[in-house]
């Protein structure tokens, strides 16, 4: 099995004393020390403000995966809504009745990393209809 590591280095001088965090996790199958063996890397260009599938549960064959999503834009005013749940296309979302939840907004230059239980799709909604590029990787 493969050896894959995910490292985070955080540094913040917001408070009087600098906060520094550095941690590396080895990516294993659920509850084991067996390395993951599957990786998907995708770059997409989105050209509408519809909420659409980014990573579907059907694209992963396990129930435990890790997801990296990057907004490579240098425009800090443009962002992606990143959701977990069913996509709603051009319809209303996050109205409290749909099985979908916005995790957060990924602004230009931002990235996110999280474990995914592969129960629901990860969906995306660009803030503008002009072409926006999103990059993602899934390890499972």
């Amino acid at each position: 099995m493969a050896t894959t590591n995910a490292t985070i280095s955080l540094s913040s001088d917001i408070a009087d004393n600098t906060l520094t965090v550095a941690n590396t996790s080895a990516l294993y199958t659920a509850g084991t020390t067996t390395g993951l063996n599957t990786m998907t890397s995708v770059t997409k260009v989105l050209e509408s403000t519809n909420n659409v599938d980014l990573i579907t549960t059907g694209s992963v064959s396990t129930t435990h995966a890790y997801v990296y999503i990057n907004n490579p834009s240098t425009d800090h005013t443009e962002y992606f809504h990143i959701h977990i749940g069913n996509n709603v296309g051009s319809g209303t979302y996050d109205d409290g009745t749909l099985p979908t939840e916005e995790i957060g907004r990924l602004y230009g230059g931002d990235w996110m990393w999280f474990p995914w239980d592969v129960d629901d799709d990860i969906t995306i909604k660009p803030s503008v209809s002009t072409p926006m590029t999103v990059e993602y990787q899934v390890f499972s």
């Binding site: 995910a6 917001i14 995966a65 809504h81």
Partner: protein, 144 residues
């Protein structure tokens, strides 16, 4: 007053060629290049609840504002995990040593980030979890 977050993903053998991805984000206020200026600092809790507990309480005032959340499971037993949920929507399981770093929208006051030590038992010991939030909005977290 900068906060930077760097991710590095490496693998020599998950693909035919080595994987080496590195990206640094400077955490800024929503839609601007102005640095975030508030943080909870790094906190640590020991979990033993197998049902969801609120780790971070959402504040509707945080909607449309930037917040970045870092959470790590500091357990050493690889079988121990925490389930991370936002508004009853499960995101995933943080196994021992796993971390996550996400933007947090707080679309409404139901968008709490909750956590459960799902497979905790009296014999496993508590699951230590560390977390930090970097954010804007002066009133954020006043209802935590």
């Amino acid at each position: 007053m900068a906060t930077t977050a760097t991710i590095t993903l490496t693998s020599a053998d998950i693909a035919g060629d080595p994987v080496n991805v590195s990206k640094t984000a400077t955490c800024t206020k929503a839609g601007t290049t102005t640095d975030l200026d508030q943080t909870t600092g790094l906190s640590r809790v020991h979990l033993r609840s197998t049902t969801n507990k609120v780790l971070l309480a959402a504040n509707a005032e945080g909607n449309d504002l930037a917040a970045k959340v870092y959470i790590i499971n500091k357990a050493t037993d690889p079988t121990l995990y925490c389930t991370i949920t936002i508004n009853a929507q499960t995101i995933g399981k943080l196994y021992a040593g796993d971390w996550m770093f996400i933007p947090w929208s707080q679309t409404d006051t139901s968008a709490n980030i909750e956590i459960a030590a799902t497979n905790w038992t009296a014999s496993t010991g508590d699951i230590p979890v560390e977390y930090a939030v970097f954010h804007e909005d002066t009133d954020f977290l006043t209802n935590a």
